[in-house]
Amino acid sequence: MTDSKAISRETLESMLTAINMGVLLVDKDCKVLFSNHFMSINSGRSAEELVGRTLFEAFPELPEVWTRQKINSVLTLQNFAFTSWQQRPHLFNFESTRPISGLVRHMYQNCTFFPVQDADGSSLGVGLAISDTTDTAARQLELTHLNKLLEEEKGAQALLIARLEDAQAQLLQSEKMAAIGQLAAGVAHEINNPIGFVCSNVNSLRRYLVDIFALLEAYEQASDESHADAHPELAAMRDKVDYDFMRQDIDELLVESVDGLDRVTRIVKDLREFSHVDSYEWQLADLHKGLDSTLNVIWNEIKFKAQVIKCYGDIEPIECMGSQINQVFLNLLINASHAVGADGQITIRSGREDGGVFVEIADNGHGIPLEIQNRIFEPFFTTKPVGMGSGLGLSLSYSIIVKHHGRLTVESEPGRGSCFRAWLPLRQPQVQALATSAAEGR
């Protein structure tokens, strides 16, 4: 080591003094033996003021217990100890001036404790090397902050994507509904023509038959027994065609046909309403009255199947298209009556909620299987036998409630029953806006 011999003790000391990091040497009692420029500049005290004092007199901000532990462990183990700015950001209470902004802030420091030996190899004390890590720390902290912001943004975007997916699904659904609606309106128009003349013809036929039968009766009365004896073939023919039965059955046949036509007409009307071809007036309506009148209309369907329990709450009239809301009640009640078996029970509840009113129609029927619960509001979806349901009742009801800015939901447990719940606002938002703008205009 000829080179090191060439470097004098003074040179080494001045290097230690000038180096751009803090250097301290303390003995086992923590008395300061050496302190460099960096320490003086940052603490504002000269080396003379620092040397000879204990570390804790010189730097009162140092945590004494912790520091002593560090120093003792270095002395005992004769090994390094380290503390980083993340663990103890400001070990020494120094300030740091930012190079560009000139902003003054606490200095972040890393500190290494290392054993220092005497010339003869015995332990002299512990050296402390303190480095300014404010730049690194600032960058790191900023990165952490940015990372956090990015994470937040990522979360917000994930939320947004979920909402977009939701909106997309809704859009698809409503497009599907609109397409079906258009189709339905076209079909309804085409069906209305033939229904029109078939209905009218059946009525004409009934009138004709009344006349024909009256005529036949008149003939019968006019022909006396001698006439019947003279024409036995007439009686035979009468028996052959089973005139009496036919006479009776024609009435029934016509009633059934008219009933069938009514049903077709109703389905077409449902289709048209479903496609929003027809509109009605908005007015204040008492839902309980609507429920009662609807119950009256379908009492024949329900009375033998289920007991109806009314638990009406205290609700005020709401702004709605009464006939359409009744249609919803009708569909829900009919469905409930179809769902129940023996000892059927249909419970109608109403009340206020969320600044609106709700009506619940619950049954103790067979319930809706889980796998089809999300399909029941789809148009043409039906589980009823062919001819029993058009598959439009619930989808129509759903679109009516949505048009009223309300919600139609279902809770169902297979085997236990279903509960359909319609929530409706007291007033319609658009109509309200119109009313206020009209009031402002005045």
Partner: protein
């Protein structure tokens, strides 16, 4: 004292629809009425019948090929505003109907499928009103 039969005024009523089954069923419905019925399956035929006869009332389908109901009735109204026009429509194109009614050339509209009683009542009322107007005008 007039004989009761002479009191029954006969009206000339024209039915227009491109579907003959509709015309037939309307004809059956109005059979017992004191109407002389004329049937037309398109607008051109209807207009030519309108030229040849003095028609009191027209029941006309809205949707027909070549000339639709409102166009035909507008033309009829232009020629003789006294004739009462009733539009029969299978689909509720409200804007078209309200336009036709506010322009004055359609007296009423009846939607398909029609209710027999309602249709008869509408015709009765329309002709009664026309009669009353004519009586008033003859007094003036």
């Amino acid at each position: 004292m007039n004989a009761p039969t002479s009191c029954v005024k006969r009206y000339t009523v024209m039915l227009v629809d491109d579907e003959e089954s509709i015309l037939n069923s309307l004809r059956r419905l109005l059979r017992g009425k004191p109407y002389d019925l004329l049937l037309a399956t398109n607008g051109a035929q209807a207009l030519s019948l309108f030229e040849q006869h003095s028609i009191d009332l027209i029941v006309c389908d809205a949707r027909m090929p070549l000339m639709d109901g409102p166009t035909l009735l507008r033309e009829v109204y232009r020629r003789n505003p006294e004739c009462v026009n009733i539009l029969l429509t299978g689909y509720a194109d409200m804007s078209m109907i309200t336009q036709a009614i506010s322009d004055g050339y359609v007296y009423r509209y009846i939607s398909k499928p029609w209710n027999d009683d309602e249709l008869q009542r509408t015709l009765d009322q329309a002709l009664e009103m026309q009669n009353a107007l004519r009586n008033r005008d003859s007094l003036a």
